[in-house]
Symmetry: C2
Subunit: 338 residues, 2 copies
């Protein structure tokens, strides 16, 4: 009976017995620096401060698992933190559910869990509870995560799509589509190469910087479906139209080139480290200057506004001076990039 973890995950690593204990000790405990006593528990106590507690949950199935600028582990941490931050909550605790395919490399798992632990630590959150399931070969594509986050929200801060009013300004904190294109190029299915890095990052600093802005209505991190999908969700809820100005939406040249070649629209591509904010127009310039003074915010732009019209369309003012409707996403432009 060797005490060294095997090179590849087997079904026995998920059966609750000795191999599973070894996997958890060697990879999860070591990476997270967790208290071994806590690991034996079915449920753990989370010391929560008084206030409004917010919860979020997300699945992560990105392919490939590692890509320029991140991996499924860092992505899970950022995605969960960002959902809390844009809802006005300071992230406190994370829980992690892991699905591993039989035959998966333990070295890759160790590297990804290590990266996850590092990004959690950098952002001052603790992974307090977890679970691991091993799936038979062919019943998963390597590794999936589900992550749940708990955060503390200032009760005065009532961010809600329903707060949005005609005349409000729409801002984005940085270029869109980097994550989508970085992941797509990493798949090497298209024979294209590039230097685009995923924008995957925590937006907590960018989000918190706006909490004190009186005219802040709503924030969202534009992941699946990109900024076009966020705009559609808003128009459907508030029953007003939105106009975006194509010349103002920041898109990196390289992202635009790849999109042009492959027929994608960057406005529908996932970002994993950007915020779309809707603010009273009086506060738009202030938000812009706050964001531009922060790391990851220097390319922020005011990209559009909420119209009086109640036909609830998303209108793009094009570079050529025309107008076109941005349709709601139907078929998948680029599956599984978040």
């Amino acid at each position: 009976m060797s005490n060294k973890l095997d090179d590849f995950i087997s079904l026995a690593h998920g059966n609750g017995g000795r191999f599973m204990r070894q996997l958890i000790d060697d990879i999860f405990l070591q990476s997270f620096g967790a208290d071994p006593n806590q690991v034996q528990k079915d449920a753990v106590h989370v010391p929560l401060p008084a206030g409004n507690i917010m919860v979020t949950t997300d699945g992560f199935t990105v392919k490939p698992l590692e890509f320029p600028g991140g991996n499924i582990g860092s992505l899970a941490v950022h995605g969960t933190l960002n959902d809390l931050a844009v809802a006005g909550a300071k992230p406190l605790y994370l829980t992690l559910s892991v699905f591993i395919e039989e035959g998966f490399s333990t070295n890759t798992l160790r590297r990804i869990i290590g990266s996850m632990a590092q990004h959690a630590k950098q952002n001052d959150v603790t992974i307090v509870a977890g679970d691991t399931k091993v799936l038979p070969r062919g019943e998963a594509n390597g590794l999936y995560f589900s992550m749940t986050g708990l955060g503390l929200c200032n009760p005065q801060l009532q961010l809600d799509m329903n707060n949005i009013q005609a005349g409000d300004s729409i801002l984005v904190s940085g270029p869109v589509g980097d994550h989508g294109i970085a992941v797509m190029l990493a798949r090497e299915e298209f024979g294209l190469q590039g230097n685009i890095q995923s924008d995957s990052a925590s937006v907590t600093v960018l989000a918190e910087a706006l909490y004190s802005i009186d005219g802040l209505r709503f924030m969202r991190d534009p992941t699946r479906g990109g900024i076009a999908t966020v705009m559609h969700e808003i128009t459907q809820v508030i029953q007003r139209s939105i106009q975006l100005d194509e010349t103002q939406i920041p898109v990196r040249d390289e992202v635009q080139s790849v999109c042009s070649m492959l027929g994608y629209d960057p406005l529908y591509l996932a970002c994993e480290g950007r915020i779309v904010a809707v603010v009273a127009s009086k506060d738009a310039d202030r938000v812009l200057s706050i964001w531009r003074s922060l790391p990851n915010g220097n390319e922020a732009r005011i990209i559009g506004s909420v119209l009086q019209e109640s036909y609830a369309e998303v209108i793009l003012k094009t570079e050529l001076g025309g107008e076109r409707f941005l349709e709601e996403l139907e078929d998948d432009p680029l599956p599984r990039i978040c």
Copy 2:
């Protein structure tokens, strides 16, 4: 553009656009009776009472998805509630992360999510947040869930393996192995048939009934790895041996027959509606009579005790009067039954 949900899940149901909104509206919103406004949010506020908040998370990958006595949806609810209940916490909120394989039947999904919603309601917990990912055909086996639960714990109740002392009694709330065998027979791989139902159920009533017992040290729901694995975890933490009395461990005749035919040991099979409790020996009879007066507790038994010996083995006193060691689980006796 039809507004009727397709018969089968496609990748577009996971892309953040119109099809995904339709899926969420038609299946998740309808089943959970959720507020559509909440569904648009990245994170939701959970009103938590003052006290010790406990959190648990689990993945669910049972195969087949539906089996006598339950399905992956009811199992997820019970599994999550039970982890909180045995830790001394009253379950309050659940979050749900869904992984669906492309081509999955929307009717089956509706049935399973409906069952999940019904069991959550019966147990007075609310599913407050969720996420759905659709995986390409061949990258999942139908449907996986991850569920996180939040519960409120009485701060006076300090249940912990480390509390366990030599001389303590070990009880189980009902027959072991029903779930494992029910799921195995439902797979129809062995050409065996039977009437065994999974024991999948909420143990909250059985657990709460013991919270006021002064000598209650520790509880666990014996899922993956069965009661033998719980015993091994205890011996490793407290560094004392445990003796179980084979004649006292309740195993249904039909479960025993199937185990004998296939060479399984029921002590390693998953239960999904049982509790193993360790209590001071002075309280053992009282716990037994409390459990036996409750639904699902009428077959409870005192099955063993904690020994003085520090060699940390699990010893089974056999029906024939001999003794044998129960080894820690190595290879998988029956994969993916929880």
